[in-house]
Every structure is written in C-alpha cells, then in structure tokens.
C-alpha cells in the first residue's frame, strides 16, 4: 500500500485551490531523456540570495569568509567586477533569467512580474527543448517567474524542498497556479502580517510553531534558518538536496537552483556562530539621506549584523565546499558548467542594513560570479566590469546557441565574449513605481570603466530632480568621495547616456 506523506496530506486537505493544484502537480512533468546523440554539457546555476561580493574573502574581504569559494575558484573563471542589475530579488533575478535590464523586463516591484510580452524571452525557452530544464528557488519571488515560464520548464521543485518545516505556500508552486500562489502566499498565509485565512492561517502558524519548537536540530540551538515564506531549513539539508539534484540530472540539463542563504535572517549554524567575534569594525561611513529614519541603524547594530552575515556566508561557503567535493568525486565537474552567482548584495553601512533601500552602492549590487567549465583546471580572473544580463547569452553561447536579438547582455569576456572595459553597465531600483508608466522616482547607476555614476531621481529629500554622485572605483572602491564636480567631462557623458536610457524608457509611456 502506498503511504501518504505529511506533505501530501497537507496538500489534499488544505483547500479547494490547494487540492486542485495538487492534482495538477500529480499529473505534472518529470524529466525525460532528450536526444542521446547530443553531447551538450550540463549547466548548473547556483544563485545564493543576497550574497554581496564585498563580504567574500574571494574578493579580498578582510574576514576569511569563503575559503571554499577560493578553492572552487582554482578551477573557474572569476569575475571580479560583476554587477546585478537591481538591489533586490525581483529585478536581479529577472535580469539573470531574461538577459534584460529592469526597465525592459519591468519586474521592478516587490514580488512583481516580468512584462507579459517579455516573459517568453527567458533562458529556459532560449535554450530550448534540447535541454532538460529544472528550476528551484527557496525565494518565492523567483518562483513567481517560474510560474511565468512554466511552459518552458520541465520541472519546478517546490520552494519547500530540502526543508525541515514546510509551508502551505509550497502547495501551488510549480503547478502553474499563479493565482493560488498569490492567494496563498500574499493573503491567506501571509507571513509577518495578518494571515488572510483566519482559521487555516492560524492553524498553519500553530503547526509550524509546534514543529519548530519540537525540532531536534543541535546545529541550531537558538533559531533555525528560514525563508520569508516561511520555510524552516538546515543548510546541510539544502546542500544535501543540491548534491542529490545535481547527481540526478539527465544530460544535457539546465538546472537553476536559487538558495535563500545568506539572505536574512542571518542564522549561522553552531559551527560558525561566533566565528568572527574578532573585534574588527570597518571604517564607519556617513549616514545617507535616503535611509528611512525609522530604519536607520547605529554603527554598532550594523557591525553586529555584519558579523552574523559574515558567519552565515562562511556557513554557506562550507556547504559549497561539500557540494564541490561531491561534484568532483562524482565526475560531474568534468561534464558540467557550474555557475555560482547572486541576485543582489547586502549592505551594512551608511545607516542602512539589508537591501530594502533605494541605494545602489557596490555592497548591494556587486555580486560574485564564478564559472567553472567542464574539466577546467586553473583559475582565470576577469577584471572587466560585467553584468547579470550577460549570464543568459553566455549560457546560450556555451551550449552552442546564438544570442537572441532581444537580449541586452553580451557573452562574458573570457568565455568567448568581447573584452570591452569601457562598456556601460546599468543598475536601477524603482520598487515604488508603476511598471507600465514613466518612472518618476527611482535610483539608477551606470558603471563604465573606472567610474560609477549614481542618479537619485525624483526623491523629495533632494531639491533637484537628479541628485548625481560620481565615484572612481579604482581609487575609491568604498564610494566615499563624490567626484562629480571634479570629473565633469566623464560625468556629463555618463549622465547623458544614462538619461538617454531613462528617457527612452519613459518615452514609450508618453501620451
């Protein structure tokens, strides 16, 4: 007799929508073997949510947070100036998966979606059916995109996979039930606020409370890592799941695996808890005018949370080390491109903690990127600035496909793309703006060569429509000295280029 798991039981018993979603799941897809004649490499994309390159010892951070990243880098191409296009999951992930800038894909709001006419322009469709295409994300914001791409994906793993205590929110994910996902995730079982489902929502909270309270997890004596959904998990379980998933891929496969950690709450396991109680404090930076006074944090709070974040990164790093060893032992690295990156960074400076901010300084937009080619045996460094929109054309290139005309990225240098140090890269934040209207209030940044220009547009805290800041990233990587007025020539050219982009975006909405 077939036993029914607790999760199956939850699915069946939850609601009409849940039950219908489950039936769709049950009849859902599974990986099928493609043409065996094809000799295409596997592609494994690992996205660690909210991982700032600035906090990785791989990139010169003072604390030894990532010895395993450094080990992995010994057989990878390391991009030392890689930027996300946005400063939170929605725009950053959308750019990774579409090769489009946020003003084009328009997933600019918290839990927003890619524009309907752009949703077909995604990595999974572009790589085509010659690949088995699998997606997993612990972050529901990315799962909303998977819902949009569901016709282009062969399998979507539940965000509650590899977890200790799952959530009702996982019920509809992957089944194409975007309405159910929204209803469950945003209303009925909304976390951090009231649950729209008074009876079931409370029952679900009590169930999780009881399950978490009774857990036997000596690695986490105080609190468990959790997502915002919330799904409670142990990092070791997640990495075990990743190892199993990577080991079970039928070649050729494209697997996009989006891991919550080191996103807040910063919960290092016992092994890393306190690992960086070294007394080190970075040079404090002046508070920024755009930091919400109610969310302004003291230097002490920032440093304390930076330490926890660093310890959490070290924990993730240990997991990556295990994954690396497992892939290596199984010979998977000899047939697979392994790509390690993030959707955005995190900051602990200028009074700001986390990534809910209009700011676009490097800690929040500069992210790691390492790409290990099959059989690669030495490290290669790329110092030219690159962007997350470059991932899609690069992956296509590595699988022998051409860059689509709609893509705004280009093949990465070092992997077949041009080496253009003066190329312009863009970042933006506009989470309060309407995605189908001209932008009124937003932050933009353009990185070109050694300079970075930041434009805070339309903020009432400034008397001008465009508050501009210019930084020399070679001599001032901490972005402390605004040299806008001293570099008028370069700044004006960059400003014109940026404004032309903004105007071009806004023009399509002009009446």
């Amino acid at each position: 007799m077939t036993s029914i798991s607790r999760r199956d039981f939850l699915k069946v018993g939850s609601s009409v929508s849940g039950a219908l979603a489950v039936s769709s799941l049950a009849a859902g897809t599974s990986l099928s073997a493609p043409d065996p004649a094809a000799s295409l490499p596997n592609i494994l994309i690992l996205v660690f949510d909210a991982m700032s390159a600035m906090n990785l010892s791989l990139y010169g951070y003072r604390r030894e947070t990532t010895p395993n990243f450094e080990r992995f880098a010994q057989r990878a191409t390391v991009f030392n100036q890689h930027y996300s296009t946005g400063n939170f999951t929605t725009p950053g992930t959308a750019s990774l998966l579409t090769g489009l800038y946020p003003w084009t894909h328009r997933a600019i709001n918290m839990s927003g979606l890619i524009a309907r006419d752009r949703a077909v322009q995604n990595l999974f469709r572009a790589i085509g059916k010659r690949y088995n295409r699998l997606a997993f994300s612990q972050n529901l914001l990315a799962n909303y995109f998977f819902d949009q791409f569901r016709r282009d994906l062969d399998e979507i793993l539940s965000p509650a996979s590899f977890s200790l205590v799952e959530s009702f929110v996982s019920i509809g994910v992957g089944a194409g039930w975007m309405d159910a996902d929204r209803a469950i995730g945003d209303v009925l079982f909304k976390e951090g606020y009231g649950t729209g489902s008074l009876v079931l929502g409370l029952a679900e909270r009590l169930r999780r409370y009881e399950a978490v309270a009774r857990r036997d997890t000596p690695d986490y004596p105080d609190a468990l890592p959790r997502t915002i959904t919330p799904v409670f998990f142990q990092l070791k379980d997640v990495f075990d799941g990743l190892i199993a998933t990577a080991g079970s891929l039928i070649p050729p496969s494209l697997a996009y695996l989006h891991i919550w950690s080191p996103h807040d709450p910063y919960v290092p396991s016992r092994q890393f808890d306190g690992a960086f109680r070294d007394g080190w404090t970075p040079e404090p930076k002046p508070s920024h005018r755009l930091v919400d006074p109610q969310r302004h944090h003291s230097v002490r709070t920032l440093n304390e949370n930076r330490r926890l974040y660093d310890e959490y990164i070290a924990d993730v790093d240990a997991g990556l080390g295990r994954l690396y060893d497992a892939l290596s032992a199984k010979g998977i690295l000899d047939s697979t491109y392994v790509i390690v990156t993030s959707d955005h960074g995190e900051m602990f400076e200028r009074g700001m903690m986390g990534h809910e901010t209009p700011l676009l300084y490097d800690p929040i937009v500069r992210v790691p990127l390492l790409i290990s080619a099959p059989g690669q045996s030495s490290r290669r460094d790329v110092d030219i600035p690159t962007s997350s929109v470059d991932l899609l054309p690069t992956v296509l290139h590595l699988t022998g496909a051409a860059t689509p005309a709609w893509c705004e990225g280009q093949i990465l240098p070092g992997l077949g793309g041009p080496e253009d140090p003066e190329r312009s890269l863009f970042m933006m934040e506009a989470k309060t703006e309407h995605p189908s209207a001209a932008l009124q209030k937003a932050s933009f940044a353009i990185r070109k060569g050694r300079y970075k220009l930041v434009d805070f547009m339309g903020y009432p805290q400034y008397r001008v429509q465009h508050r501009l800041e210019m930084y020399d990233m070679e001599n001032d990587p901490e972005e402390l000295n605004n040299i806008y007025s001293e570099t008028m020539l370069a700044a004006s050219a960059m400003k014109e280029e940026l404004l032309a982009r903004i105007d071009s975006y806004n023009a399509q909405f002009a009446e």
């Binding site: 769709s24 918290m110 839990s111 209303v187 009231g194 959790r226």
Partner: protein, 184 residues
C-alpha cells in the same frame, strides 16, 4: 430522537452563520485590500480576480467549518445549555473564538522569534475565559441576549452579499482550473 430535531431552527442557523461570515470574510477582505494596491500595478484585472476568487472560496470553506463546529456543539450539549439559546450563545461563541484567533494570529506573526516566542498560559487564559464567559452571559442576561440576537439578525444582510460573491468565486476558480488544464 432524530438528529434533525436536536438541530437549531433554520432561521437561527442563518443568523449565527451571518456572524461567522461577517467576521471571516471581513478579515480575508481586509488583508486582500491591504495587498490590492501593489497587485494593481503589476497584475492584470483577471489575475486579481483569480486571487480574490481563491481567497474568498477559502473563506467560504472556513465559515462552513466554524458553523459545523457550532452545530456539533448544539447536537452534543444539553439543549438548555446551547440549542435553546443557539443564536445568543452560538453567535457570541463564534465572535469570541474568532476574535481570539485574530489575537493569536497577531501574537504569532513574528516567527523570527521561534522558538523563543512565549506561547504561555497567560496568552491563552484571558481569551479562553472570554470564550466561556461571554457566551454564558449571552444566554443568561436578557438584555445582553437581546443585543446579540438583534445584531445577528441584522448581520444576515451580509449573507446576501458574501454568499453570491462566494458562488462567483467558486465559479471563477473552476473556470480558471479548467482553462489551465486545457491549456497544459
């Protein structure tokens, strides 16, 4: 004795159900409207209708579950305790129990604190006392009973709004399920 004869009258059941529907649907709609402004800017009207439909269908299911619980109580307890004063005690019991759920929901929303969050006796004692005492008083004190019954009677107007809305919601859920099944 037949079970149906132990059940409260139809009109009494409707009045108690009206209180349940008023509270549960109001709560769901409150949180729907809290999210609506953000959905409005990136979801289509049809998608928003879909989310509303799923949410209201769930609310309908919950309201029926709560009503069923009260009817089971009416069948289980001596008629003099509950069945004979079903509107007063049923409506007040539903209101205090659902109010307690709102209170607990608010207490438990910060799951970041798990497992340290104190879900102690003190947190439950007062609401539990209210759940017992208020329905008791509603059955014993004439003026209180009149107020509850009067309120429950007036609340039936909400059934004329919420039940058709729920019916439409169920229909939308089914149509969208069908559309999804056919398109995949």
């Amino acid at each position: 004795m037949a079970i149906s004869s132990r059940l409260p009258g139809r009109q009494q059941i409707i009045q108690v159900y009206a209180i349940i529907v008023l509270i549960i649907f109001s709560w769901t709609i409150l949180w729907l409207f809290w999210k609506l402004p953000s959905w409005r800017i990136f979801l289509t009207a049809w998608e928003i209708v879909g989310v509303l439909a799923f949410s209201l269908s769930t609310a309908l299911g919950e309201s029926l579950v709560v009503l069923s619980a009260l009817l089971i109580l009416a069948l289980s307890l001596p008629r003099a305790w509950f069945g004979e004063v079903f509107v007063a005690r049923g409506a007040s019991l539903a209101a205090t129990a659902l109010g307690t759920m709102m209170f607990l929901d608010d207490q438990l929303k910060h799951e970041m604190l798990y497992p340290e969050l104190p879900l102690g006796v003190w947190l439950l004692a007062l609401p539990l006392a209210a759940i017992v005492l208020i329905p008791y008083a509603a059955g014993r004190i004439a003026w209180f009973r009149r107020i509850v019954e009067s309120f429950a009677d007036r609340a039936t107007i909400f059934l004329y709004i919420m039940l058709p809305l729920s019916g439409i919601s169920m229909f939308v859920v089914l149509v969208r399920a069908l559309a999804l099944t056919l398109s995949s």
